[in-house]
């Protein structure tokens, strides 16, 4: 490892702060806090100076790959560049220093922002109403499925199953299972689209709904969507759209117009908020008329009082599924998405969608021929290659992915979707210039050539990264994420 852990840098007594003398009586924690709540052992926090902390984390950030360093062509993840203005607005004191218990009349600006964000998202997708509560895309899925369950429950029969295509993101069946449904897989046809015969065979009175990603995970628009919509609604089954690939639709087509009843927005994908790595996220959902009454509370609404517009939280929704999140969701993320939405406006959003599609098609046009293309269909914002040809030479997709790292790019999504053998899924996003795309194309063509002429080179990759090829099987079998000090570092 090129950088020690912050714990290994710790030296007893070193610190990065000085506190003034206390101007109140000093008391021991043990006199103020019940014994059963007091920590018995030392906290073992690292003792380091300010510049050590700064250098440590700056160094780690340079060892890591991130979109501020180079393109991140991770399919179905929309790793677009996040404009820095987002950070500026989110840091505005009036937003950053709000307290969630503050009275709404003292936080009207924040409520207005949330209200306008719901209105903007609603318009982008053509839905009836939007909730900002879910804290991630998968949380949006769960919320949407709870709404579907409530819809059927209110009609007297909760129904049992959710249909999910075999090309779906793994979160779809996982969310359906957590929401208490049995999952039934619908096959894809030779174009990578829904196999209509299989769908018809599996559609029955038990089906509560179907979850579809559109465009789907091989980047192809589900052209049968209106037919699917009619089949489902004739059966009183609802239609869920996984919004992971919404970047391709922005300003061009709307899920609401396709008949979807729920759609989740991945603000960290389409709307340029940070990919959290488990940090605070926001996965709003939009719904059709059928589901509005069931949305989580509180809902943000607007009324006129004494000639003035007033924003407020409305808890009075008797058929609501209730809360899905503490307080009102992750507000800082909403500020960033709102900034992005307002910076671009309607025309700008359409250009985002169009450029995302053009960039993906340009990449595909240059890589076609060097790699297999299992579904040769018109693609939207991403596409899926197969490393089958390279595998026949002894080089698997995972090896190609490792080799890409040597050129300073993040690897594409690999081994997903499951319907593509040795899958390599590439999504450039609209934020990359032609020069960057050309650089990535050169890398992919060079690697394809290396597989032919010098496969050993690819099998040994990566060579230029801070860590070389890791034994990920060993790591998974012997997972250890807790730092334990070596004996000599423990104080006597």
């Amino acid at each position: 490892m090129k950088e020690q852990l912050i714990f290994e840098k710790s030296r007893t007594g070193r610190k990065g702060y000085t506190l003034p003398d206390a101007d109140v009586p000093v008391a021991n924690a043990s006199d103020l806090i019940p014994k059963n709540l007091l920590r018995g052992d030392k906290a073992e926090l690292p003792e380091v100076s300010e510049n050590e902390v700064v250098r440590h984390f700056i160094k780690l950030s340079t060892l890591n790959h991130h979109v501020d360093k180079q393109m991140y062509p991770l399919g179905s993840c929309t790793m677009k560049y996040n404009p820095k203005i987002n950070e500026k607005t989110a840091a505005l004191s009036g937003f950053a220093n709000l307290h969630p218990h503050q009275r709404p009349e003292t936080a009207q600006g924040a409520l207005k922002l949330m209200y306008e964000l719901t209105e903007g998202l609603r318009e982008v997708c053509g839905m009836k109403a939007v909730s900002l509560q879910p804290a991630a895309g998968s949380h949006g899925e769960l919320t949407g499925l709870f709404l579907i369950r409530k819809y059927h429950e209110k009609k007297g029969n909760p129904r049992k199953t959710i249909l999910v295509p075999d090309s779906a993101h793994g979160t779809n069946p996982a969310s359906a299972a957590i929401a208490g449904y049995d999952v039934i897989t619908v096959k894809s046809n030779e174009h990578g689209l829904t196999d209509m015969a299989d769908l018809k065979a599996k559609l029955n009175a038990d089906v509560a709904g179907m979850m579809i990603t559109n465009p789907n995970t091989i980047g192809v628009f589900e052209s049968q969507i209106l037919e699917i919509e009619k089949l489902l609604h004739d059966n009183d089954s609802l239609l869920y759209m996984d919004g992971a690939n919404m970047n391709a639709l922005l300003g061009v087509a709307r899920p609401g117009d396709m008949g979807f009843d729920v759609v989740h927005y991945n603000l960290h994908k389409s709307f340029s908020t940070p990919h959290g790595g488990g940090g605070p996220g926001c996965g709003p959902i939009g719904v059709s008329e059928r589901l509005v009454e069931f949305l989580p509370v509180p809902r943000i609404e607007k009324k006129t009082e004494a000639g003035k517009e007033v924003y407020f939280f409305n808890y009075d929704k008797p058929d609501s599924i209730g809360r899905m999140m503490g307080f009102f969701g992750n507000f800082g993320i909403m500020v960033r998405a709102y900034t992005y939405l307002r910076m671009h406006g309607a025309k700008g959003l359409r250009r985002i969608g169009e450029n995302a599609i053009i960039n993906a098609n340009y990449l595909l046009s240059q890589l076609r021929g060097a790699y297999d293309l299992p579904f040769d269909e018109p693609v939207m914002h991403e596409f899926c290659l197969s490393g089958d040809r390279q595998k026949a030479k002894g080089v698997k997709t995972m090896d190609i992915a490792k080799r890409i790292l040597d050129f300073g790019f993040h690897a594409p999504t690999v081994y997903f979707p499951m319907i593509v053998h040795e899958a390599i899924m590439i999504e450039p996003t609209e934020t990359e210039s032609k020069e960057t795309l050309d650089l990535f194309i050169d890398v992919m063509l060079q690697i394809a050539n290396e597989v032919e002429t010098n496969p050993e080179l690819v099998l040994g990759a990566p060579y230029t990264t801070p860590m070389k090829r890791l034994d990920d099987a060993y790591a998974a079998r012997n997972i250890n994420v807790k730092y334990t000090p070596k004996p000599e570092e423990v104080e006597a």
Binding site: V414, D472, A473, A476, R477
Partner: protein, 125 residues
Amino acid sequence: MNFPSELKYTKDHEWMRLEGDMAVIGITDYAQSELGDIVFVDLKAVGTKLNQHDIFGTVEAVKTVSDLFSPVSGVIAEVNTALSEASTVNQDPYQNGWMVKIKLSGSAETDALMDDAAYKTLIGQ
């Protein structure tokens, strides 16, 4: 790749060896090669009743988790506890890498499984 002729095979890449009224089941050499390094094998408990095509466990590789489907109906009589060292499946899929022994509740359905030639055709070898 090796596909012993005394075994029967499924389209889901399990193999089965009949030992009296007991079916010994594992995954094929092709399956372990496609999965890559196997990290965990999670098998249902002894005594679990299975219909043909029911899931008898899952196998977790670095890149994916896959369900394991029973080629036959019966009751799990024994599971291979040695697979706590999951890499055994990669190294020796047909002998030490066996997963479960199922006491058959019938015998007819074993005839519907593939022989090695048909399985090789299925995987394009």
